[in-house]
């Protein structure tokens, strides 16, 4: 039986080792942050941090998880939001919100150890994240704002 660490807590995996991490997080740990968008690592809706790196959980077999897993729920809560979550709320950087968790996780990886980030760096850093509703402009604004807040 594999044990993984999710948002700081150990979890004993029930599913078969080939099960993508996304389904373990959603159906066993009952998390709702990472979402199913494509199952092909093309859209970024399922992004989580694994050992600090942003990875698409929809194609990562749970047996291959080699570091602590952090989802958007682990970054912050409604009462104690992460600077990115706070910035996304202030900038109203979501419409349907399906891409939002993935955007925040990718941004968290991008902003690690940085005091500022340029428009071009944000576009490149979040290039694996798609948004269909058109919240892109506000996402860029939110990430910029959060970078200032993390400094």
């Amino acid at each position: 039986m594999t044990t993984i660490t999710v948002n700081g807590k150990p979890h004993t995996v029930q599913a078969s080792p080939d099960t993508p991490l996304l389904y373990v997080l959603r159906n066993e740990v009952l998390l709702n942050g990472p979402k199913y968008g494509c199952g092909l690592a093309q859209c970024g809706a399922c992004m989580v941090l694994v050992g600090g790196q942003a990875m698409p959980s929809c194609v990562l077999p749970v047996s291959a998880v080699s570091g602590p897993v952090v989802t958007v729920e682990g970054l912050g809560t409604p009462d104690k939001p992460h600077p990115l979550q706070k910035a996304f709320i202030e900038e109203q950087a979501a419409q349907c919100g399906y891409c939002t968790s993935g955007m925040i996780v990718s941004a968290a990886a991008l902003l690690q150890g940085r005091k500022q980030v340029s428009d071009a760096e944000i576009r490149a850093g979040l290039e694996r994240n798609l948004c269909r509703c058109g919240s892109h402009m506000r996402v860029i604004a939110a990430v910029k704002k959060a970078a200032g807040g993390l400094a």
Binding site: A15, S16, D18, T19, P20, Y23, R26, N27, L30, L31, N32, G33, K35, Y36, G37, C38, G39, L40, Q42, C43, A45, T71, V72, E73, G76, T77, P78, P81, L84, Q85, F88, I89, Q92, A93, A94, Q95, C96, G97, Y98, C99, T100, S101, I104, I122, R123, A124, L126, E127, N129, L130, C131, R132, C133, G134, S135, H136, M137, R138, V139, I140
Partner: protein, 764 residues
Amino acid sequence: MDQPVNRREFLQTHLALVVGITGITGSAAIVGDAAAQAAAPGVIGPNPSLLDTWLRIGTDGRVLVNFGKMDCGQGLDVAIAQIVAEELDVPMQFVRVVLGDTRVTPNQGGGSGSTGVRLGARPLRNAAAEARRLLLEMGSKQLGVPVGALVVRDGVISVAQDSGKSVSYAQLIGGKNFDAPLKWNKVVGNGMNAEGQAKPKAVSEYRIVGQGVKRADIRDKVTGTPHFTAHVRPGKLLHARAVRPPVAGATPEAVEASSIAKIPGARHFVQGGFVAVVADSEWNAIRASRALQVRWSTPPAAFPGGEAGLFDRIRAATPTASNAVPMFAGKKDHDAAPTLAALAGSRKVIEAEYECAFQSHARISPSCGVADVRGDRAEIWTDTQKPHYQREGIAKLLGLPTENVQVTWMPGAGSYGRSDADEAPFEAALLSRHFGRPVRMQWMRDEGTAWDPKAPAAVVSMKAGLDDANRVTGWYFKAKGFNGWDVKYWADGPEQVLVGQLLGARRAAAYNFNVPEESYKFPNHVHWWETVPPYLQDASPLRTAHMRAPQEMQTRFAQESFIDEVAHAAGKDPVAFRLEHMQDPREKDVLRAAAEKLGWQPTAAGSGRGKVSVGRGVAVHAGYGSYACAVCEVEVHQDTGRIRVRKTVVALDCGLVINPIGLRATIEGQIMQGLSRALYEEVHFDERKVTSTDWYSYPIARLEDVPQQVELVLLNRADQPIGGAGEPAIVCFPPAVANAVFNATGIRIRRYPLTPEAVKKALS
């Protein structure tokens, strides 16, 4: 969202009667008939003639409002809460809006035609005004002074001259019924309205409406707080996946059950053309859907000629219907003879044909639905745009009385019209009944892109004549395309969804396309549309349905590109030429506002030509009671064929603005989706199947496509009726981009999407 009325209290005291009458839907061939939209009574839901149906006040003073529309991700409920708070004189935070639940919300038509505020708010505004009137009467009795001596602020009624004498709404009515009537206009759907004796406030009195109010639900979205359809996980849940045929039109001839025997808990289901698997774990359901061995029939090629033959097929097809007015406006014949005669006698004739590809809703996450069917009752969780109609459709699918099916609407992945949102819930219901457990069906990415309903492809033919003075002598517009709704704008029967068609349900014929509604006046002006037969009659991955600004993307691409072509032939500036022919002052105003904001100057086409050519283009749109104009400044890269929109200005007049924050967000969304549909989106298909199955084969706009500069000009016309805001702006982008490309390079591209391949080819 905000602090809700105590849910237990709400459920205990809710007394709205459920009145459901299943009308006869699916009438005979209807062409552009307004009656088609309004005719069938369908499901009414709770009784709209009772004030308590619409609005209740809890013991804590919180206001619960039942809204029969829902939100596709634009925060519509915030505007509704503002309107109710305004009329009732309560703080915004006191108001909670319940969306789309068929148990408690009347059928106001769901998300539809940008009517959320302009039509959907009406009964709620009236109900809130009536509630305030009744509360003032109660307050008057309680405080022993006439109504005229009272003031209301923040849900508290007090004597104007003696503020110590007061009573709150909660004290007067908290947790109790008003038991008061409203006059319902007997319309079901978008046009539903109900009125009391009270008159709503004048715009000049507004303190809340018109203010920028932020959405509270974004907090849920950034923290992963459960609120989506995809989060619903009843006990004993079975996960389901469909198994689609390798080619369109193929049906299952045999299924090898043993092929999934080794996958724990996996079972298959076959009925008619529908094949699915279920399992206790989601991953096992996915594995089983890939492992299940099915022998499929070998039908004739569904799409002869493939996408290479698409537009010639449209040109050559015999029309199925023809009409000269926009959607839902009735039927009108056309006569092109005077126009053609005028053109024949003109000094110069300009002719052009525009081609518009099939496009997919391509939602960020495909269809998802949960169903729990027990005996003769069913409970459904869905993010459909039309929950009341889905309820009716699933009831018909299962052969149950409509009252026995309840649909809980929840937010889902953004939806922009009649998307795939209805598909999974119908399938889940069918499987739940069969397997006797709750079922969650999630469509996979290839199903969402290949098998969802599509915006129809079209060819639009345009001609215009000029006289010696370069004045227009005639204007000819003919849109010819696939029918705008192979499946209806709502799923009120099995024939309207893929699984129903796979089970043999057949839809009645109805045809629709569109003509432009802008106010240009030309001599000898004729316009009409024609629809052509579909490639595949039933269960087609190219079946069409409404997608954001239905048939307007196609018709305005042509009209707004062509007017530029005619202006160019006449030696006139595109902005000036439009202004010359526009009749509607509000249309002129948005055009001037956008042009001015960008600093529009007449320039010669192709004067910016180079390795990177720079140019500007404009387009206008009138529709939904609103007026929009977009101006784009683009770079065209010769080596890659890439178009980069570096600046855009959008001016929008949608009458009275309820919430400028929400309005800006809605326009920004339309900018990105409009650029996406202009630059990238086309459904690829070969002779046997749709080959757009993922984000590589159906690319959309990404973060890198965000323009460097975006300016919005909101023309707040408080004296005008509220217009729709969710669709008018997106229409402007394909033609504005094509016009900008022409201005930059001198090359006219007459097809959307304007892909890099198409641009490179055109430039060479």
